[in-house]
């Protein structure tokens, strides 16, 4: 009991500080200050340790169990993107690799645990993330406009320029603040940030400009900076990927009979999931060298085109095939050069290079779990509408951009510098939001139980709380 008392007192005393640290960490990560993601990962880890008491006190046994199962694939991803044949052969360094393991788990846990801090307001965290990322994108946008003018990717499409005696296509690049200097970077890389920011606009469907003019203006500016960073280039592919995000947001906001539509959407979703699952299985078996699948695909012109020879599948196959070799099982060594340079544009396949077969299976499993968790969060969480719509839209935008436009070699002049999605700042932000929106696969989080609300309202009296016979609180 003494320990309980002390923990309650501790929690009550330091919650404001913890919230400040979390928001600070998120803002720094979103701004990618000095491109020092390694520091932010360790910072996130340290703060997540400070959040442990909150998680311990306000999480039921059932939630821990559910969280444990939910986290299994993430743990695999964390370890294999941190330490693998790939990371060792790339020479990232032990501290960096360790930070990936700790940071991946920590940012997810931060989101999960900070929700259990009574004074924490996700609005503020989202605004901090948005403002910091908007500043980063805005600086790059201004410098890009200064150097290229607006709409350069369309106006000068296909035209080249020479730099350092080498030839570059001007419509494929833009400017970006990396560390303390501006660099030329692929437009798809920047569009990931732009797309994430643009989703702030979906919150405007809920925020009234009359009753909350300041919040409306701030959110609008953040969203517009993101949208403009895509439109003023313009990156048509990224714009196309924003369409489903905004359609989702409109549907989420305006479709009243959500339950009826929900059933239709559910069936459609499961149907799509089934088709995608079968297609993925075929792709995997084809690359694993299962002869009857391979022969069946190669023997049919349409299937061969669909699974082998189109511009999307060719790099995917180049990545998946080595995954089944002994050398590529835990990520690719540097000698698997074809697999390493094949740009799939999708983090789901890029993870094969970095972590191998197990990491690939883990990310598929994790994505499925996240989808179910978010569906429950969307339906059951008491969070306000503008919070839910921003979180869901942002995660969809990140998923779409990461699945179609992720560029592993985005630096234009240093085209051999590998950018890992799993070491990027957006990945950490996404993990935080997944952690925050995590919903147990059955039941409700303890903090949302009616008894807990009563309990929380009385937390000013730590003694009283500590002596309460709330069964769910286990230390």
């Amino acid at each position: 009991m003494d320990l309980k008392k002390r923990l309650y007192a501790l929690v009550d005393k330091y919650d404001a500080l913890i919230i400040f640290l979390v928001i600070e960490c998120l803002a720094l990560t979103a701004f990618s200050l000095a491109d020092a993601n390694i520091i932010f990962r360790y910072l996130g880890f340290l703060i997540s340790i400070a959040l442990l008491p909150f998680a311990l006190m306000f999480t039921s046994k059932r939630e821990w169990l559910s969280l444990g199962l939910f986290s299994i694939p993430l743990v695999i991803i964390a370890f294999l993107t941190g330490f693998s044949t790939f990371t060792l052969s790339m020479g990232f360094g032990s501290l960096d690799n360790l930070s990936v393991v700790l940071g991946t788990l920590a940012f997810f846990f931060l989101g999960f645990a900070v929700r259990r801090v009574r004074k924490f307001k996700i609005d503020i965290a989202l605004l901090a993330i948005g403002a910091a990322m908007a500043l980063l994108v805005f600086l790059g946008l201004i410098y890009s406009l200064y150097q290229y003018g607006p709409f350069h990717a369309s106006l000068y499409e296909g035209l080249v320029y020479y730099y350092d005696g080498r030839l570059f296509v001007v419509s494929e690049e833009t400017k970006w603040l990396l560390g303390f200097s501006f660099v030329e970077i692929s437009i798809n890389y920047v569009s990931l940030f732009g797309a994430m920011l643009s989703t702030a606009l979906t919150a405007l469907l809920y925020i009234s400009p009359k009753t909350e003019p300041r919040k409306f203006a701030i959110v609008a500016v953040i969203g517009l900076i993101g949208l403009l960073s895509i439109v003023l280039i313009p990156n048509i592919e990224a714009l196309i990927l924003l369409i489903p995000v905004f359609l989702f947001a409109l549907g989420y906001r305006f479709i009243r009979s959500r339950e009826k539509v929900g059933i239709v959407v559910q069936y459609a979703f499961f149907a799509l999931l089934g088709i995608a699952g079968i297609a993925l299985l075929v792709v995997i078996l084809n690359n694993a060298g299962v002869s009857f699948i391979r022969n069946a695909l190669a023997g049919n012109a349409f299937l061969n085109r669909l699974f082998n020879t189109n511009r999307i599948m060719s790099p995917v196959n180049a990545v998946l095939a080595p995954m089944f070799t002994a050398g590529g099982f835990f990520g690719f060594p540097i000698t698997y050069i074809d697999g390493l340079v094949a740009n799939t544009g999708a983090f789901e396949f890029e993870i094969v290079k970095e972590g191998g077969l197990l990491a690939f299976l883990a990310i598929i499993a994790f994505l499925l779990l996240v989808i179910f968790s978010l569906a429950r969060y969307s339906a059951k969480s008491p969070d306000k509408g503008h919070i839910k719509i921003v979180i869901l839209s942002l995660l969809i935008a990140a998923l779409l951009n990461g699945s179609f436009l992720w560029d592993t070699f985005p630096l234009i002049y240093e085209s051999d510098y590998y950018f890992s999605f799993f070491r990027s700042a957006p990945y950490l932000i996404v993990l935080f939001l997944i952690g925050y929106a995590y919903y147990p696969l059955s039941g409700k989080p303890l903090i949302e139980e009616p008894e807990e609300i009563v309990l929380v309202s009385e937390t000013t009296n730590a003694d009283h709380l500590a002596n309460s016979d709330e069964e769910e609180i286990k230390l």
């Binding site: 946008l141 201004i142 406009l145 200064y146 150097q147 290229y148 003018g149 607006p150 350069h152 106006l155 000068y156 296909g158 035209l159 080249v160 320029y161 020479y162 730099y163 350092d164 005696g165 080498r166 030839l167 001007v170």
Partner: protein
């Protein structure tokens, strides 16, 4: 109200900034000057200022075998004034002529250690950055992207900055024609001109260096000849005259009995073989720019 005004100002400022557009100032269609067709790849661009705002030649200097150097192998670096030929800048051994890598690896190879982009990265942008990137011969990777092909009328360009101090000039080049003859020398006269802008008369004042009768390796694959001279050795007491030079041009002619050749890209006379210079690198080692 003040906030609105500040925001409007910021927004306006953002768009005012768009007037610069340096990065789209010099764009080309596809692989410019790199089509694989000899006659299509001549670079003959003269900056308008060097065509229209030029004073008469202020002074002409003769560069001959006596006051110049010509490098085709490692030992030829001994012709450079000490310690310019030494790989570490202090003492022997000399540079390895063929150990030539891009300038990111400065300090290894002559070109990478002395190229203009390494001296000042303002030279990195533009088509002519091919001449400033440290690749002094074909590196077997970028091939034609390394060189600039000129006819007799050459090219003229403004530097991104003014040359404040300088030690020596070097030009890495080879000759080329459309024949299948391999590995021979052609004697070439190169007219190298530096332009110093005179604010009083608002004209560029040329100083001409006539590099006479240099045998240049021709159709030699990736192999090149480096020719050059020391400014102090050629100009003597005049050496400060080209301080603040902000432009340069190169033209050439053939020296000797080359009746079967033409150096005019437009010349379609039957039986005449087109001859071009393939410039790989323009070097002004140890120069400073402002």
């Amino acid at each position: 109200m003040r906030k609105k005004a500040a925001f409007a100002l910021l927004f306006t400022f953002a768009f005012v900034l768009t007037g610069c557009m340096n990065d789209v100032a010099e764009l080309y269609e596809g692989h410019a000057y790199d089509t694989g067709v000899f006659s299509e790849n001549y670079y003959s661009t003269w900056n308008d200022s060097l065509k229209n705002s030029v004073a008469p030649v202020a002074k002409t200097y003769e560069v001959t075998a006596a006051n110049s150097f010509q490098i085709e192998q490692d030992s030829d670096f001994a012709q450079l004034w000490s310690p310019d030929g030494f790989a570490d800048g202090k003492a022997e051994p000399y540079y390895s002529y063929f150990a030539d890598t891009p300038h990111e690896d400065a300090g290894y190879g002559y070109g990478p250690s002395n190229n203009l982009i390494a001296v000042d990265d303002a030279f990195a942008r533009g088509f002519l950055s091919r001449l400033y990137d440290g690749r002094i011969h074909c590196d077997g990777i970028t091939y034609a992207q390394t060189r600039v092909q000129i006819d007799g009328s050459g090219y003229g360009t403004l530097f991104p900055k003014e040359m404040m101090s300088y030690r020596y000039f070097a030009l890495s080049l080879r000759g080329a024609d459309e024949s299948s003859n391999y590995g021979f020398a052609m004697n070439v006269n190169i007219n190298l001109t530096f332009y110093v802008y005179n604010y009083d008369i608002a004209l560029y004042v040329p100083y001409l260096f006539q590099m006479k009768n240099f045998p240049i390796m021709t159709n030699s694959g990736g192999r090149t000849t480096i020719v050059g001279f020391y400014f102090a050795g050629v100009m003597g007491a005049d050496v400060n005259l080209i301080r603040r030079a902000s432009g340069m041009s190169i033209t050439f002619s053939l020296e000797g009995d080359y009746e079967d050749y033409t150096i005019d890209r437009e010349d379609t006379t039957e039986g005449k073989e087109r001859f071009a210079l393939m410039l790989y690198e323009v070097l002004l080692p140890k120069s400073t720019w402002n």
